[in-house]
Symmetry: C2
Subunit: 166 residues, 2 copies
């Protein structure tokens, strides 16, 4: 949750100039992402205690049942050690379990719990609603165009564009 402060009454600046950044794609991308994150925090994080990152993890676990922490790390493009803390959080919340692998005693098979499935279903509805609200100023066509352009942007960056299911 974030608090928007009031502008100081004595601010000598009515408007701030951003220079050449107004023409930079990365600048607008960052601001857009921050705005999205903020709205997510206002709606989902405060009510469900789930951040965008945790929600992403949950979805990947739910849609790839039994995957290992290392596989999850690869999927989320973070270090293995970072996954541990996240999985701990989700397990403490009772949303997922670390099942023992029948074939590999080192590895865990991550699975949703029944409460986890229910919680995710509920959160997912809130996220979809929030996502629609967020893009309320865009027509459906514009929204689709935006998503398409974004995908073309970041797919160039990831060397494995095939592991995103359409």
């Amino acid at each position: 949750m974030r608090k928007h402060r009031g502008k100081p009454a004595n601010s000598d600046l009515a408007e701030v100039f951003h220079g050449p950044m107004t023409g930079e794609l990365g600048f607008h991308l960052r601001r857009g992402q921050i705005a999205a994150f903020r709205q997510f925090a206002r709606t989902i994080t405060t009510t469900e205690g789930i951040t965008p990152g945790l929600y992403g993890m949950l979805q990947v676990i739910a849609n790839n049942p039994g995957l290992s922490q290392s596989a999850l790390a690869v999927a989320m493009d973070v270090d293995r050690s970072s996954i541990v803390k996240v999985v701990n959080q989700l397990e403490e919340k009772g949303l997922i379990v670390r099942d023992a692998s029948p074939t590999d005693r080192r590895r865990y098979c991550l699975h949703m719990t029944t409460p986890g499935v229910q919680a995710l279903a509920r959160i997912e509805q809130a996220v979809l609603r929030q996502d629609q609200d967020f893009s309320a100023r865009l027509s459906d066509a514009e929204r689709g165009t935006l998503i398409d352009l974004l995908k073309r942007l970041y797919q160039q960056d990831s060397e494995t564009p095939a592991n995103v299911r359409e």
Copy 2:
């Protein structure tokens, strides 16, 4: 303990499913921003030691000479206390200077130094080049469309008057 459905345990997955997130704007926005940040890091941060955040600060200071740290905080939408560390960094690099305000002995007037102006000019060129590279897969028209759509998205957020006095 628990029975999971008949889905196979994904131990070695070549493909990761993201579920309904593939239809969520926020998901693609986040990935796009991460990709942009990553390329920025590869090109500018490694060579100039400047992160996207620092670059943004520099541009705002350069384009609004003499602004106070509080005004900068409002412009960057972060807390006053966060500004201190950033300004310290930029000052230690010799890029900016804290001038005393002639009218208010509490406040600093932030200004670029001459080396700072030169450095920013150089960095700016690199950023613009990198930004073009990043959007190389988009036509100029598509790039313009993308920026326009992003602006309409986040401008709605900055308009929400969450900063009403209580």
